[in-house]
């Protein structure tokens, strides 16, 4: 099994819904509309040939420069039998960051989704226990979003004497 075959199988099943197919550093990467993420996960899980039954990683990325599709949820899946990995993404707007949960399929998605919610504010619809996990419960913002930059190392408005740099 190789990337070309997986791509062909996916194209047969999902047709035009498969977007931005690419192979950066040898890993098949594609995008699907956000309401199809569960269908794709289920298909990849159930298909007797593809057998992507191990969720390696689930996380998100914030792209503030893309109106309407600011947040990307990234899934890394692994077929342990044929030892091949793929990655797929769904994009969602930051105003209504609703994405279906994968917890019905993978127990491991539970905490990974909670972590993603905690840092990016993605609302996993149907998640059994969508609470903050690493940050304090009282937090009101999502710190991994790009609107919270770390301090610029080269800023000059601070009094350097106070920081031992004078």
């Amino acid at each position: 099994m190789d990337n070309a075959l997986i791509r062909q199988r996916l194209q047969e099943k999902f047709g035009d819904s498969l977007l931005n197919v690419d192979e950066p550093y040898g890993m098949l990467t594609f995008e699907v509309p956000k309401d199809m993420n569960l269908k794709v996960l289920q298909f990849l899980y159930d298909d007797p040939e593809l057998r992507f039954q191990f969720l390696t990683d689930l996380t998100a990325v914030h792209y503030p420069g893309q109106p309407g599709r600011e947040l990307a949820v990234v899934y890394h899946l692994h077929n342990l039998v044929d030892n091949i990995r793929i990655r797929f993404k769904v994009f969602t707007s930051i105003e209504k960051p609703d994405v279906f949960t994968a917890t019905q399929l993978y127990e491991s998605a539970n905490w990974m989704e909670r972590e993603t919610y905690d840092f990016f504010g993605i609302n996993f619809v149907g998640h059994p226990n969508l609470r903050r996990i690493l940050n304090v419960d009282e937090m009101t913002y999502f710190p991994m979003r790009k609107e919270f930059p770390l301090e610029d190392q080269s800023r000059i408005d601070k009094d350097d004497e106070m920081f031992g740099r004078g």
């Binding site: 550093y25 890993m27 914030h62 890394h76 993978y106 127990e107 905490w111 690493l134 940050n135 770390l150």
Partner: protein, 407 residues
């Protein structure tokens, strides 16, 4: 209505279970995390895990740092085997930058990573012993972890949070003392490990305490995202070193030990067996390392002036070296844009790095796949219905490292 020895006041709500906080600073948790247990007598009805007490926002910090400054962050993930994390991070960077490392560097890395794996498993297994009442093994093997730390110290200057190596290789060649200490380790450790196994493997008390507790089936373990020794104890022979070899692991001949029931006893045995396999790998790598003669034996890094700091004497005497030095230290090297996932077999399982670069000087996004964080979810299922004392044992046998869990 059951009869109580203590008469409850009129109108009070009758609760038949006890809530017990195990952690976050309980000595039995071996790290800062909390379990809220609901107990019926000594039996666990339900467990709820709380993590995040030492969350340090590494992923966010990494978004403002040049690549070489992220290495010390990775130390602090699984601090029982920080060299593996360091090497994993360097490997990710090298994959993104398409740097090919010389074979000698690969073998040096393999030696260091396998030493780290031994020290990681050693801690985990001896602590399982401590939690089941056997302190001797723990004290006995500690001096060999100390020897491993001395080897780290000779290689990079520090012991626990090593910050070892650089993108492209090591900061200096292994010196004579490294090889002497390695010889001592390879010479003495097999007998120690054998004795450690003699203490536990057929120990009646230890077997009674561990067999049949904290078990999980292979299907459930895969569904929970288990990797590493904990997955292999259920009988799945998934090992990143074999499935996606990195750092020339394909040149070595070793076995993947697997268990059957996935209980605490199997996890213990798998880790012990892995230590034997690690010793085997170190011996092979050491032999290969000795085959490099003359100028080849002086190779300890790849030729990547953009990322590898030049020699100090060159910085003072050569213009180019000075420029590279300045650019690297100030973090002014632009990273090529790209998106890469790479994983290594850490002490606890698949330690993955997902790195996105947009062409800037630091990563656009960096995500760590921490094996501990993912499999700790299963803890409530593993302990449901078991005794409180077994829950403590299960916790230590999963090898939960708070630093890795909370990132």
């Amino acid at each position: 209505m059951t009869e109580h020895h203590i008469k409850l006041p009129e109108g009070s709500i009758e609760k038949t279970t006890t809530t017990l906080n195990l952690g976050p600073t309980h000595p039995a948790t071996h790290g800062v995390f909390q379990n809220i247990l609901e107990l019926d007598g000594e039996r666990i009805v339900s467990a709820e895990q709380t993590v995040g007490y030492i969350h340090r926002a590494f992923e966010k910090i990494a978004e403002r740092r040049p690549l070489y400054q992220i290495t010390p962050l990775t130390d602090r993930l699984n601090y029982c085997s920080s060299p593996i994390n360091n090497m994993g991070w360097h490997l990710v960077c090298e994959k993104l930058l398409r740097i090919k490392t010389p074979k000698r560097v690969d073998y040096m890395r393999v030696i260091v990573m396998e030493l780290a794996r031994i020290s990681d498993h050693l801690i985990c297994n001896s602590v399982v012993g401590v939690d089941s009442g056997a302190f001797t093994g723990f004290l006995y093997v500690m001096q060999y972890r100390e020897l491993i730390y001395e080897i780290y110290e000779e290689i990079c200057g520090s012991r626990l949070t090593t910050n070892m190596g650089r993108i492209g290789g090591f900061e200096r060649n292994f010196n004579q003392t490294v090889f002497e200490k390695l010889d001592k380790f390879l010479d003495e450790y097999p007998a120690v490990l054998k004795e450690f196994e003699n203490l536990f493997n057929r120990n009646r008390i230890f077997m009674d305490r561990t067999i049949g507790t904290g078990g999980i089936s292979a299907e459930r373990a895969l569904n929970y995202g288990f990797t590493g020794p904990n997955l292999r104890a259920t009988g799945v022979d998934y090992d990143v070193r074999v499935h996606s070899p990195y750092s020339s692991y394909e040149d070595f001949d070793f076995e993947i030990p697997v268990g059957k029931t996935g209980d605490n006893y199997d996890r213990f045995l798998v880790r012990n067996q892995e230590m034997w396999q690690s010793l085997n790998i170190i011996n092979q790598a050491y032999k290969k390392l000795k085959e490099f003669k003359g100028a080849d034996a002086e190779v300890y890094h790849a030729d990547v002036p953009e990322y590898y700091l030049p020699k100090k004497e060159d910085v003072y005497t050569k213009m180019e070296a000075l420029i590279w030095h300045f650019k690297i230290v100030m973090g002014e090297t632009e990273i090529p844009p790209g998106e890469v996932y790479h994983s290594v077999e850490g002490g606890n399982g698949e330690l993955g790095f997902y790195l996105i670069s947009d062409g800037g000087r630091s990563p656009y996004r960096l995500h760590f796949r921490r094996p501990c964080f993912i499999y700790y979810q299963a803890y409530s299922e593993l302990t449901k219905g078991s005794m409180l004392s077994d829950a403590v044992l299960t916790m230590s046998s999963l090898n939960l490292i708070a630093g890795e869990m909370d990132a």
